[in-house]
């Protein structure tokens, strides 16, 4: 697989490590009433879809940036690559 890094262009996926579902960006509020349940779900439960999946990849053997890659888990086709930083900032703005 080739990951089209927004800053560096197409890079071999072997240069990256994958953390998992991009939902991991959305850490729950630790002060919420039901924080224990929220953190359980955040840490352990996954949508695990067959099809489009947004996921976090780390460019370990490159510029060490975190990316949000939108990839099809049935075909392995990569349809979109964003800097995780941009995604996180945009989410903050939406709150």
């Amino acid at each position: 697989m080739l990951i089209d890094h927004p800053l560096l262009g197409p890079r071999d996926a072997a240069e990256f490590v994958i953390l998992g579902d991009a939902g991991l960006i959305d850490r729950p509020d630790w002060q919420a009433e039901d924080a224990a349940r929220l953190f359980h779900d955040y840490q352990h439960l996954r949508d695990n879809p067959a099809g489009g999946h947004r996921e976090l990849w780390f460019h370990e053997q490159g510029d060490r940036s975190w990316l949000v890659v939108t990839r099809n888990t049935v075909t392995h086709e990569i349809v979109k690559v964003e800097l995780a930083r941009d995604v996180a900032i945009a989410r903050e703005r939406d709150r």
Binding site: M1, A13, V17, N48, A50, R71, V74, H76
Partner: protein, 416 residues
């Protein structure tokens, strides 16, 4: 028909005209007591033990493809009970004991071969860990022998004992471990269940559940709706997808694991060798092919095929362990979907939906579990209570802080 040497003789003398299809191909009935979703090893074993142990035969197994088209026919066939933790080891030891009596029990040749399995160690620290694991195995009634370098050298002289990075100091040996002919396991359980009246329904994909007021009353399928008092899901790599139809999210990710087989070679590898440090394991099939594999590819996948960097990585592990493997030519490679869980251990449990049960999270190691998984799942379905050896394999264990994490890798499925 009962299979025996006499039967082979009789059929041979009468032109082999008496052999019958091994199972019927019934159309689904509108309703069953129990519907099992997934005709892999675990689904078929569950049906078999429901019939033989609990006398329940108003049962259907629904399989979206053909019986055994999933991982039960794609794995590298290793069986063992060399786990460490109390939530796992008694379960896998029960499984190994069931393997030992399986062929007599279901009257089918599954080629269960207890040729032994050895896990290598490379340092004093790893030797201590191997000794501890061996003791845990002995406590659970399994067998374990700590081999030093000399003893291992007598078994496998061709290993690269003086490897610079991972010199081989010995291994933890389980003589009762080994390999089994995987397809025959599916066929044997299928035949045994069918003979007792279980309907095995192929090309029947479950596409939804009939859930009303929090109670599951049946399934929707590509061959119409089928009612059921209890619906027991065991679809391995498709767990997330299928339980998603019931609105449940699981502590599971689907990944792809590849396997590799070389051309047939003269006997060289006596049992199973696992080289954890190099992410490589190998055995030799009865036809002579070296059967080997390593890590999962690492990213979520439902593709049933992997990528080449993993092949390269696995082959590097093989070269580091036994340089002679470089002469062998790979004949076939394939991949299967594995249901990687958050702690590397499985689930056999009820769900928040009444009448809907779940079996999954087998990671890359559910083949060896097939007999015990079926046995314990049947027990749960029939009695409503978990079998004692599977009592820890619960969906709520993370909430309770009771993960069964053999590796201590944490909630990171691709590291288990």
């Amino acid at each position: 028909m009962r299979y025996s040497a006499l039967q082979i003789l009789r059929q041979g003398l009468t032109g082999n005209r008496g052999w019958k299809p091994v199972w019927r191909e019934p159309d689904p009935k509108p309703h069953y007591d129990i519907v099992i979703v997934g005709g892999g090893g675990h689904g078929l074993a569950t049906a078999y033990y429901l019939a033989t142990v609990h006398g329940l035969t108003d049962v259907a197994v629904l399989e979206k493809g053909w019986l055994g088209s999933g991982n039960v026919g794609r794995n590298t066939t290793i069986i063992r009970s060399n786990y460490l933790l109390p939530g796992n080891e008694p379960f896998y030891e029960l499984s190994l004991q069931l393997w030992e009596g399986l062929e007599q029990d279901f009257n089918y040749n599954a080629m269960v071969s207890q040729r032994g399995i050895v896990n290598l160690y490379h340092s004093d620290g790893q030797r201590d860990a191997a000794a501890r694991r061996g003791n845990a195995m002995l406590l659970a009634g399994a067998d374990a022998v700590l081999l030093d370098r000399e003893a291992l050298q007598r078994k496998c002289p061709y290993l690269d004992f003086d490897n610079e990075r991972f010199p081989i100091k010995g291994g933890l040996y389980q003589p009762r471990g080994g390999t089994v002919r995987h397809d025959a396991v599916a066929w044997g359980y299928a035949r045994g269940a069918d003979r007792r009246g279980v309907d095995l329904i192929q090309n029947c994909e479950v596409t939804g559940f009939d859930i009303r007021d929090g109670v599951c009353r049946g399934v929707e399928t590509s061959r119409g709706a089928i009612g059921a008092d209890r619906v027991a899901v065991c679809v391995a790599g498709s767990s997330g997808r299928v339980m998603g139809y019931a609105g449940l999210r699981l502590p599971i990710e689907s990944h792809v694991l590849q396997a590799f087989v070389t051309e047939g070679l003269k006997p060289a590898i006596p049992g199973v060798i696992t080289f954890g440090a190099g992410h490589f394991y190998v055995s030799q099939s009865d036809k002579g092919g070296l059967v080997f594999g390593g890590d999962i590819d690492g990213y979520n996948s439902y593709a049933q095929r992997g990528n080449l960097p993993t092949l390269e990585d696995v082959c590097e592990g093989g070269m580091a362990l036994m340089p002679m493997i470089g002469r062998a030519r790979i004949l076939r490679i394939w991949g299967g979907l594995v249901d990687m869980s958050m702690d590397g251990s499985p689930f056999i449990d009820k769900t928040p939906v009444d009448g809907l049960l779940f079996n999954g999270g087998w990671n890359y190691g559910g083949f060896k579990a097939t007999p015990a998984s079926g046995y314990c799942y049947a027990h749960l379905i029939a009695t409503g209570a978990p079998h004692p050896v599977a009592a820890e394999m619960r969906l709520d264990r993370f909430e309770r802080g009771a993960a069964i994490d053999e590796k201590g890798a944490g909630a990171q499925p691709n590291l288990h």
